[in-house]
Structures are given as C-alpha cells and as structure tokens.
C-alpha cells in the first residue's frame, strides 16, 4: 500500500458510483490513526480461523475508535462519501485537492486531519463544508451508523481488491455500491433483485436438523439424546461459519449444469446475506442454517462432512477424552443418519408441518430447566492454523448475535443468561402458528391426564371403547407377546428357532385359511423372497403376516394374514398390521397391496386399506400374485405416523382438546336459558343464533358466512314493524292474546305449542328473535294452531288465512321473505 493511500479524510475515492474500475489511484483505507487496521478487514479465509476471529474483533475495535472521534472529524470523514449540496452540483463525494507527501507526513506527526471545512473538492471545486451541510443536524447515533457503513465500505473494497475469483469479486463490488449509495442517501441498505429475500427455502436447515433429532432420537434416554442434541448444535454451528467454495471451484467437481447454476445462486445469496454481513454489520445478517434449506444442504453436505471429519481427526489429540468419543464415535454415525434423511425422497424432517412431541426429558431441555453445557463443544475445535477455509466452532460471544442463531440459541442463551429460553420460544411459536396453544398449557394438561388418579367421569365405569389394539399393546409391554420379522434363506444359515417359527406360522396359516392348499402355503412361507412378521406368544407363533417386498416397485404385497382362532378378537391383527407398517416405514416402503378374500375385506378396511388403488397399474402388474375372486386393496403409509402409537396419540390429543375446551369453559361461564324454538317446530337455526356461542369466540367458517349475513338482517326494528302491522290488521283479533282456558276448556289438550301476538311482542322485546326464522316460525305457529283446532268453516279459520297472507306480504315488503 502506498503511503499516499494511508490517508485519513484526505483520501478520496476517485471513482463515481458508475465507474467500473476499481483499484486505481485511491483505495478506501483505514486511517492513519490506526495503521494496523489498514491491513485488517480481510475476513476471507486465507488466514484461517484464528485470524478470522481477530479480524472480526479488529473491525469492531476500529468502529469503536471511529465512533469516539470528535464530531468534526467524523464529518470530514463522511464528506468523502457525501454528495455536494451546492445546487446543480452532481459531485458524489469530496476529494482531496492535491495529494501531497508533505501533508501526509505532517498528518502523521500530529494526528490531525489536514483537510478542513474550507478545502475545495478536487472534483467539483466546492468547499468541503458543502459536502457535509446535510449531516450537521443528524443525531450522533445516525452519524455513527453512517461511519460504520464507511468502515464496512472500506473493508469490502479491500476484499474486492484481494479477491481472485471473478464471481466473488462481482458480489463484493455489488455490495460496495449498495453500501456507498446508502451512505450517500443516508438510508439503510436494502438488497433487492433477483436474489430474492431470505428465507430462501422452508423449512430451514436448522429446523430440519432439529426435526431430525426429534424424529430419530426421540426414543433415546436423556443422556444419549443430549449427546445427539449437542452434535446437532455442533453441526449447525459449523455450518453457520462454513466458508463455501466458489462456484468455479465447484465446477471442477460437479458436472450437472443445473446443479452449478443453482449453486451459483445460493453461493451469491450466502455471500450477500450471510458471509459479508458477518463482518460488515451495516448489512443485514442472516445465519446460513436459518435461511437456506434442503437444496443447499444437499449440494454441500458431502464435502462439509468430509472436511468436518478430517478436521476432527486432525485435532483429536487436543481434545479431552470424552469429547474425543463424542466426535469420533458418535459424530460419524450422526452424520450418516443425517445424510440418509437429507437425501431421502420423503424424509419427514423436511416437512414444514413436522411436529413431534419431544420426550419428557427433552421438554426439560427445551424449557431450559437443565443447564446446558455448551461451552464444551467449543473446546472440541480449539482451532489450529488451518488453511482450508473451514470454519470451526470457535464462536466468540462478541461478534455473533445469539438471537440470530436458532440452532444453538438455546444453549447460547442459557449461558449468557440474556433471555430465558422458554419465553423466546413461546413467542416464536406464537408468531409461527397463530392460534396455537402455549406448550406450557399442553404440558400441564398432559401431566394431568397421565396422572393415575385422573378420573374421566362417571361413565368410566362402563367404558368399553378401548382402542382395538390396546390390549395387545399392553401384552407386548409386559413381554407376553413379541413381534419378529423372519424369513427363510437358501444361501445363508437359518437358525433353528426361525425354522420352528416358520413351521408354526405355516400351521397357523393353513389352519386359518382352509381355501389355500398346504403346499401353496409352504411354497410362499418358505420362499426366501417372502418374509413373515410373526406374533409370538409363549414361544410359539399364534399369528403372522406373510409379505413380499418389491423394492424396485416401492410396495409390499401382503400374501397371508392370520391369527389363530382362539386368539382372535384380541387386537392382535391390528397390532400386527401396525407393526408391519412401522417396519415398512423404516425401510422406506410406503405402499401395501393385497388381494383380500371376502372375509378379509372387513379386516383390511379397518387397517386403512381401500379398494381404490392409488398406485399406477404398471407399478404392480406382473409383480403381485393375482387371485381370482379376491379384491385388490391398497394402503398408503404416512411416514410421519408411528402406527403402533397412533391410537394412543390420537386419544391423547382428543383428551387434550377436551381439557382445553373445559378450560375455556371455565373462563367464559354463563348460563343461558335453553332454546325453546325446537319444541315449537323450528327445524334448525344458525349456530351463531344460539345465545352465548359468539361470546366463546366461535366464528362461522368462511363458507358459512354468506348464509349468516343473509340472516343477520333480522333486526328488531324491522320485525317490530311487521308485528305491529299484523296486530293492527282487521283479522288479527282472534290472535291478540293467549287463548283463555276458561273460555275454551279443551284448547290446551289439542294445542301443545300455543302462540299469540302478545307473546310474540314479549319475545321480540326480550331479543328472542335472533333470526327471522324464529320470528316466522312463531307467527306460522299461530296460524297452524288455529287451523288445527278450528274447522275450515269458522271465522277463526278464515282469519288465520287472511292474516297469514297479510303477514307474508309484510315480510316481503320488509325484504325478509326469500321464498
């Protein structure tokens, strides 16, 4: 760097924003105040991790220093990046009039800027002051923000200068321009355009990996689970600090042009949103693992893994022994399992709706009740002087905002104690899922309903509606029954136990399926391509499902399915099928096909099979055995369901919803008088007309709204007008008040639901007529009662007819008649 460049405010940028070339006479530099910072700001990786760290720190120090400058000095600095305010002047930044060696020396000596507010600009000849008038009144914070951006602009310029890769260089230049513009216009940087806005894919990598831990390790004990959780955090952390290889390097390894262009886009996004903002904090920063999804992870996973493991091996001698075990034994397995899910076509971890109840111990961790020793995995990577551009886990608390790091957030927060995790988590859930109930509430409810003393009401005495498979599940828990997938082999040795069980199964099948010949059953049960899920009780098979998997076709054919007769109706059949489903999901086969005979159709229907075959015929024709007179049935499995737990999960959910309703009921408790309209012959009323329904927060569904609006116009005033008119009609006299029993002794023997205009008036006053339907029903009741009790040749009968017509007319006039 030439001495000329080591200028402070006198160092101008020569190019205008539009000018293409960079790196000519003046570069942006750090100041003479701190010569060392001139060489800072090169976070790009060549110096490795340790220096990255110190780079970040140096940048922060530098900024702090600039913030502490006297106000005038700040303005002089900003002038270089600020437009001249002289009318008509288009100059975009003050430039030092004449770069002079002498001045420079001087400056160094007294540490004072040479420029003054009266110095003319080399570009536009207006004095420097003209470049800063607009900054005079700005608050200190704003001035500092702009100065921070100036430091960042200078750093980006340095990076750009040093960068060899053309793609990367272009991105630096792009960011450089954006930042300059935002200083010029005193605005906040906004990155727009074809890159799109983060997040670029849903779910994020961090979310997917959290899902992965929940999905795969849910059944582990707390300690093991904690290990997996730590590994996941470690992985995410590495990923967030990973330096991605440039597209040009990648081209050497990958040949698919689509992959490369996709990678190029993601690489650019990463530079713009993740990498550069990490050291230029005037740009909005995002964590890689939060804004990218499956595509990027798939693209880089293999190389990330390889380098990670290489690194771990390199550093193993420096690790404490327990960490060595974690990293060298568990991590490879963790990565292998993760890889499976990343490249699997339909792994549930990528499901944006993924939800799995964490095990209890996990809940504690998520609720941050147990302290998490996050510091430990940082020690794992006491990083050396690696030259591979690989980022290790040496996170320093100063530079990374913990809030942004979802993957490691929990630990980070618990350690720095900045914010209780549960609060943050809940807030996030609240914003993500809208109306969802807070997890604490759910946890409380779960605690209640799992309490053995919890009573479910008086009918529990007579409860017989246990799930079909409950008894079988209980027996399995008590180890009274076992399930094994067994099969014959012609190449390998088959142990005696398996053989005996196969023979037992053969007996069960041949006994329960008398239509099949014993020979045919033998042919399939002992065929090595067929397997049988055996239900073993007291050491002997009492039922089983024989199936054949067609891996290439993605389905399994269910060949025989039977439970020995004296063990039927105990839920074994259902439990067998659920085990078979779980087994297939583990093996990534998601379709069952079977030819069901007349007696089996019912069973298969209960197990979720349908005669509606969703698989294309080509998938199975020629593979599955065809049976005459049997019905082909199909069952598609949902990999998100653990079928053996399905009923209990659903039941528990139901129980929770019931509790939530109870809780809500306690909150809004009000007893309304019951509805009488049904007694009076109304067939149905809109739900929202039931008093109190609205107060509970019930809203009509979107589809029902039209209907409801239609009815809402039954306002009291209109109805009162109609009722008034009817009352004043000449034919209304028989109906003005209730029939007096003294006058007509047997009236009430015949008329069960009397009605009259006075009663209607009272009901109207008490707001009973929440819909016009109720009003019409009462009125019609008056006429039908009359015609029921009186014969057609009476005056009463005629009055009823006349008044009814009049009523209809009045209702039509009021727009309340839609027939």
């Amino acid at each position: 760097m030439s001495t000329e460049e080591i200028h402070d405010i006198s160092m101008p940028i020569t190019e205008a924003d539009s000018s293409q070339t960079h790196g000519h006479d003046a570069s942006l530099t750090a100041t003479a105040d701190d010569a060392s910072s001139s060489s800072a700001a090169t976070p790009q990786s060549t110096e490795g991790q340790a220096s990255r760290q110190s780079n970040l720190q140096r940048i922060q120090q530098r900024k702090q220093q600039v913030y502490n400058w006297p106000h005038n000095k700040k303005l002089l600095k900003l002038a270089i990046y600020s437009a001249c305010q002289t009318p008509e002047c288009t100059c975009n930044g003050w430039k030092t009039p004449v770069p002079q060696q002498a001045l420079k020396a001087n400056q160094r000596a007294d540490n004072q800027p040479l420029a003054s507010f009266n110095d003319p600009c080399r570009n536009c000849n207006h004095v420097l002051e003209k470049h800063v008038t607009q900054l005079q009144g700005l608050p200190v914070a704003e001035v500092n923000r702009l100065l921070g951006a100036v430091v960042d602009v200078e750093n980006i310029f340095m990076c750009m200068h040093r960068e060899d890769d053309q793609d990367t260089k272009r991105v630096y230049y792009y960011l450089f321009k954006i930042l300059r513009k935002c200083i010029l216009t005193r605005s906040h940087p906004r990155i727009e355009g074809p890159l799109g806005q983060p997040p670029f894919e849903r779910p994020s990598i961090a979310k997917a990996i959290t899902n992965f831990v929940l999905y795969k390790f849910n059944t582990l004990s707390q300690r093991e689970w904690q290990t997996m959780y730590d590994l996941a955090k470690m992985f995410l952390h590495c990923f967030n600090h990973w330096n991605f290889e440039t597209p040009s390097v990648r081209k050497l390894q990958v040949s698919n042009p689509e992959d490369i262009s996709a990678y190029q886009i993601n690489y650019t996004r990463w530079l713009v949103f993740c990498h550069v903002p990490a050291f230029c904090d005037s740009l909005p920063h995002y964590e890689t693992s939060l804004v990218f999804g499956r595509t990027l992870l798939r693209a880089v996973f293999k190389s990330v893994c390889k380098q990670l493991m290489d690194k771990c091996h390199l550093e193993r001698d420096r690790m404490p022994p327990e960490k060595r075990v974690l990293v060298l034994t568990h991590f490879p397995r963790f990565l292998a399992l993760l890889e499976e899910e990343i490249f699997s076509a339909d792994s549930p971890i990528w499901d944006p709706e993924f939800k799995q109840n964490p095990p209890n111990h996990l809940q504690n961790i998520l609720d941050n009740k147990t302290p998490i020793r996050r510091g430990e995995f940082e020690r794992v990577t006491a990083s050396g002087d690696s030259k591979d551009g690989f980022t290790t886990v040496s996170l320093s608390s100063g530079t990374i905002n913990p809030i942004k790091q979802e993957g490691v957030k929990r630990g980070a927060e618990s350690r720095s104690g900045c914010q209780p995790m549960s609060a943050a988590k809940r807030r996030r859930i609240g914003s993500d899922t809208g109306d969802d109930v807070c997890e604490r509430t759910v946890a409380d409810i779960v605690a209640t309903i799992t309490d053995p003393n919890y009573m479910c009401g008086p009918d529990a005495l007579f409860q017989m509606q246990a799930p079909r498979d409950e008894a079988a599940k209980l027996e399995e828990q008590r180890k009274l029954i076992e399930f094994h997938v067994i099969g014959n082999s012609l190449t390998g040795a088959v142990n005696k136990q398996t053989m005996l069980w196969l023979i037992g199964l053969h007996n069960v099948f041949s006994h329960q399926l008398p239509e099949m010949t014993k020979e045919y059953i033998s042919q399939l049960v002992f065929d090595p391509k067929h397997k049988t899920l055996a239900l073993i009780k007291e050491g002997r098979p009492i039922g089983g499902i024989c199936f054949r998997t067609f891996l290439s076709q993605g389905f399994s054919e269910i060949v025989f399915c039977a439970v020995t007769s004296n063990e039927q109706v105990k839920g074994y059949g259902t439990h067998l099928m659920n085990h078979l489903k779980d087994y297939h999901i583990r093996n990534n086969i998601l379709h069952f096909l079977t030819f069901a005979d007349e007696y089996a159709i019912g069973y298969f229907k209960k197990q979720g099979f349908s005669k509606d075959i969703k698989l294309p015929r080509a998938m199975y024709q020629g593979y599955i055995k065809d049976y005459e007179g049997a019905t082909l049935m199909h069952c598609e499995l949902n990999p998100r369901i653990v079928y053996t737990q399905f009923t209990s999960v659903v039941r528990r959910q139901k129980e929770i919803v019931k509790k939530l309703i109870d809780m809500r009921q306690k909150e809004v408790r009000k007893i309304h008088p019951g509805l009488t309209c049904f007694k009076e012959g109304v067939r149905s009323i809109p739900v929202e007309c039931v008093p109190g329904v609205r107060e509970t927060g019930w809203r009509p569904a979107a589809g029902a709204r039209a209907h409801h609006d239609h009815d809402a116009d039954a306002d009291v005033a209109t109805l009162r007008n109609v009722l008034h008119a009817v009352k004043n009609h000449a034919a209304a006299w028989p109906f003005l008040k209730p029939v007096d029993k003294a006058d007509v002794p047997d009236y009430y023997d015949h008329i069960k639901y009397p009605m009259d205009l006075r009663t209607m008036g009272e009901r109207l006053k008490s707001r009973y007529y929440v819909s016009k339907r109720l009003f019409i029903a009462d009125m019609t009741r008056i006429f039908t009662n009359c015609r029921l009790y009186n014969s057609p040749d009476t005056d009463y009968y005629r009055c009823a007819n006349t008044l009814e017509k009049y009523f209809h007319t009045k209702m039509k006039e009021a727009g309340l008649w839609d027939k």
């Binding site: 008086p458 007579f462 017989m464 509606q465 006994h511 007769s565 004296n566 063990e567 039927q568 109706v569």
Partner: protein, 295 residues
C-alpha cells in the same frame, strides 16, 4: 325406571361405599374370631396339661368354660360369615347393575355399540365374576350352579344369558350365546337377543332350543359333584367367539376361579379334536341330546 349412566354410576358408588365399610367390619370380626380361637386353644391346652387329678369339679368347670368359648366362637364365625355374604351380595349387586345398564343402553338403541374385542372382554369378565356358590354345610348345589341343570319348570329371567339354537342358514343350526329378552308364556317361547350386536338380533325360540347358562360357579373343593366329570361330552363356548360347540372335558377346574380344559370336536385336526382350550364354567353346559349336530 331408566338406568342412565349417571344413575348406575351413583348406585355402584353407593355399593362400593357399603363394601368399603364391610371390609373394615370383616377385618374387625376376623380379629375377634382369631382371639376366640386363641382362647379356645389356650383353654384346651390348659385342660390337657392340667394333671388329670380327681378334681372333677375343676374339670367340669373347665369343660363349661370350653363350651362357652366354643359357643362364642361359633357366633363370631357366623357373624363373620354373615358379613362376608353381605359383602359378596354388594359385589353381585354391582355386577347386576352393570349388566342392567348395558342391557338398557342396548335397548335404548343409542348404539354405544360394543366392539368385538370389548364384547369378548366383557364375556370373559362376566364369567370370572359369576357368583360363587358357597353352600352351607350339607347343602347340595342348587340348580344352575356349575353343571347342575335347570329344574324342568325353570323359566329364565330377562337379561339371563342362555345358549340358543338358531338357524343360521338353510341347513345349518348353531348354538349361539344370547340373552333373554322375555318369556312368552302363551307360546311357551323365549324371545332372545344374540349377544353379538352385529348379528341379526332377535329370535323367538321354543323352550327346548334355549339352555340357560349357570348362574353360579361351583367350587371344586366343596361341590365337585356340581362339575362335569372328565370325559363328559358338553357344549362349550369356543374361545373368542360367541358360539357353542361340542367338546370333551379334558380337565376339571382346580379352583373356583379356574376354567375347564376341553377338547373341541374339530375335523380339521388329524385326531378330530382341537388342542386343549380353556373355557370358563359359565360357558360349559350339558349337551342337548337329539339335536347335537353342531360342528
């Protein structure tokens, strides 16, 4: 009076409370009995160990004392028996309330359809909780206890479980498990419902096609004569079904809670009989000769 779930639950609760009290009473009574027995033993020992001197007045006094102790012991034992029976009665009441509730719910037609598995469980528990006949000394087991058939004039009450011979197809008849709805004295016929609600329900059958199931279990230790002997040909409910088939008694229940072990006639097995199956006393009945063509 309709027996709603709430009413039934209330009644059951009431019985349970009484039962709870009884258990304490029984415990107290048992302790008293124990004391009685202890003092009897002590007195007996004393009379034995006391040198058999000629003091006849002493002996007779001892005998008098013993006699009184025996009497007290007897009363205490009777009291305990009374309490035990009263407690048992409450249990049977609970059982019948539950049964009544089930029948009412079924007839109310509100279709709280009992699933197949639940039905089987219910049948098993109904057999396990069938009242046990605890006879007094010298008493013969009454009708419908264990293998003792109903008296010729016996009419089953509504709700009683029976085996009923119904026509299931053109040429096939089956003994099914059913329960009595009513007795039609004019025709001498029963109206019965198939216990399995999924089947065609109501049947009107002549008396000879209806065999009431035992109302009590017999205790093999006291009433072995009220059990079918080994080798007897019986009708037994095939496990996990609601149909009776011909079977041979292979082993008698060892205790009151034990089921029979029977071999069903089954031509699909080489020797014509199924492997041993366990069937509760309630579901093993005497074969009706003449029409025993069940397969």
């Amino acid at each position: 009076m309709p027996l709603t779930a709430d009413v039934a639950a209330q009644q059951v609760q009431e019985r349970l409370r009484t039962l709870h009290r009884f258990i304490y009473d029984i415990e107290a009574e048992r302790a008293r009995n124990e004391q009685c027995i202890e003092s009897i033993l002590r007195a007996e020992k004393a009379s034995e160990s006391s040198p058999s001197n000629e003091d006849s007045s002493g002996t007779s006094q001892q005998q008098m004392q013993l006699k009184n102790l025996y009497k007290a012991g007897l009363t205490a034992a009777e009291q305990e028996e009374r309490l035990l029976r009263a407690a048992l009665l409450r249990i049977y009441e609970i059982r019948s309330i539950k049964n009544e509730r089930r029948i009412q719910a079924r007839h109310a037609g509100n279709k709280e359809t009992i699933g197949c598995g639940a039905l089987m469980k219910m049948l098993l528990s109904a057999a396990q909780t069938l009242p046990l006949h605890v006879g007094r000394v010298g008493e013969r087991a009454p009708q419908l206890c264990g293998a003792v058939p109903a008296d010729p004039g016996h009419i089953a009450r509504a709700g009683d479980a029976v085996a009923a011979l119904v026509r299931v197809s053109e040429k096939e008849e089956n003994w099914i498990l059913a329960e009595v709805v009513s007795w039609l004295p004019a025709q001498g016929k029963y109206e019965v419902d198939d216990i399995d609600e999924e089947q065609k329900n109501r049947h009107v059958l002549s008396k000879r096609r209806v065999v009431p199931l035992p109302l009590m279990r017999a205790d093999p230790r006291t009433d072995e004569h009220a059990l079918f002997p080994k080798g007897a040909v019986v009708m037994a409910l095939y496990p996990q079904t609601t149909c009776f088939y011909r079977a041979i008694v292979n082993r008698l229940p060892a205790s009151a809670a034990d089921p029979y072990e029977v071999l069903f006639e089954d031509s699909s097995y080489a020797d014509g009989y199924s492997p041993p199956e366990r069937v509760a006393q309630r579901y093993v009945i005497a074969i009706k000769e003449g029409k025993g063509r069940a397969t």
